[in-house]
């Protein structure tokens, strides 16, 4: 069965620190990859997505993610976090044969001013 693992459940960083959130998935076929963010009191929003091409994708608010096919990974990065990045981050995988998303358990990020 397909699964998505986010190894960091809760991350606490100071402003200006660098961020990397891990995401690994298990699926043997071609996948589309996504990172969603949920700010406090708001709905899930798409941060970035990867379908094909350059494995380094850039999203909104300075976030980027790198797809490493050999490692089945799609880690999210940001060079310098801000207090406003405090949110919960979800990695999601969609096999390109279907429409169903498989989400990770989420990583709660707290940025201390």
């Amino acid at each position: 069965a397909q699964s998505v693992s986010q190894h960091n459940h809760h991350v606490i960083l100071s402003e200006a620190a660098s961020l990397e959130l891990g995401c690994n998935y298990s699926y043997g076929g071609t996948v589309n990859l996504f990172w969603y963010v949920q700010y406090p009191g708001q709905h899930l929003q798409l941060l970035l997505k990867y379908f094909s091409g350059d494995p380094l994708v850039k999203g909104i608010k300075g976030f980027e993610a790198e797809f490493i096919k050999s490692k089945f990974s799609f880690n999210l990065r940001k060079p310098s976090v801000q207090w406003s990045d405090t949110a919960e981050y979800f990695c999601a995988v969609r096999p390109n044969t279907g429409n169903q998303f498989y989400f990770g358990t989420g990583t709660s990020l707290t940025v201390i001013p």
């Binding site: 709905h43 798409l46 979800f90 390109n96 429409n99 169903q100 989400f103």
Partner: protein
């Protein structure tokens, strides 16, 4: 443009009662999805409508859950009778198209309905 809306935002019911959740997708979006997140776990797919038809209901946990989308606009998800393990946040999402890699298949999520079964 209005986003995906869900009603109610919170619902607290007792075990054995019935609850109906509603989702209004973005106007014109034929594809509507229901997801559920049990506390501390991943967001799990429940089902996918294309217009009024159930395209994929493989994630529905059991026959206590009934989803409908009459007329292909809003959708309801009824839980009857509710059990303790049904507690969680129920998300709805919609997209113009489904699958593929184009810009029109992005799923837009609603704020979720937090269901607590006591």
């Amino acid at each position: 443009e209005a986003g995906v809306t869900q009603f109610p935002s919170h619902s607290v019911i007792e075990k054995g009662q019935t609850v109906t959740l509603r989702c209004d997708p973005i106007s014109g979006h034929d594809n509507l999805y229901w997801y559920r997140r049990v506390m501390g776990k991943e967001i799990k797919f429940l089902l996918h409508f294309v217009k009024e038809s159930k395209q994929d209901e493989s994630g529905m946990p059991n026959n206590r859950f009934l989803a409908e989308r009459t007329g292909g606009t809003y959708s309801t998800l009824k839980v009857q009778p509710a059990e303790l393990e049904d507690s969680g946040v129920y998300f709805c999402a919609s997209s113009l198209f489904a699958g593929g890699s184009g810009p029109y298949n992005e799923q837009f999520f609603g704020p979720g309905t937090r269901l607590t079964v006591l």
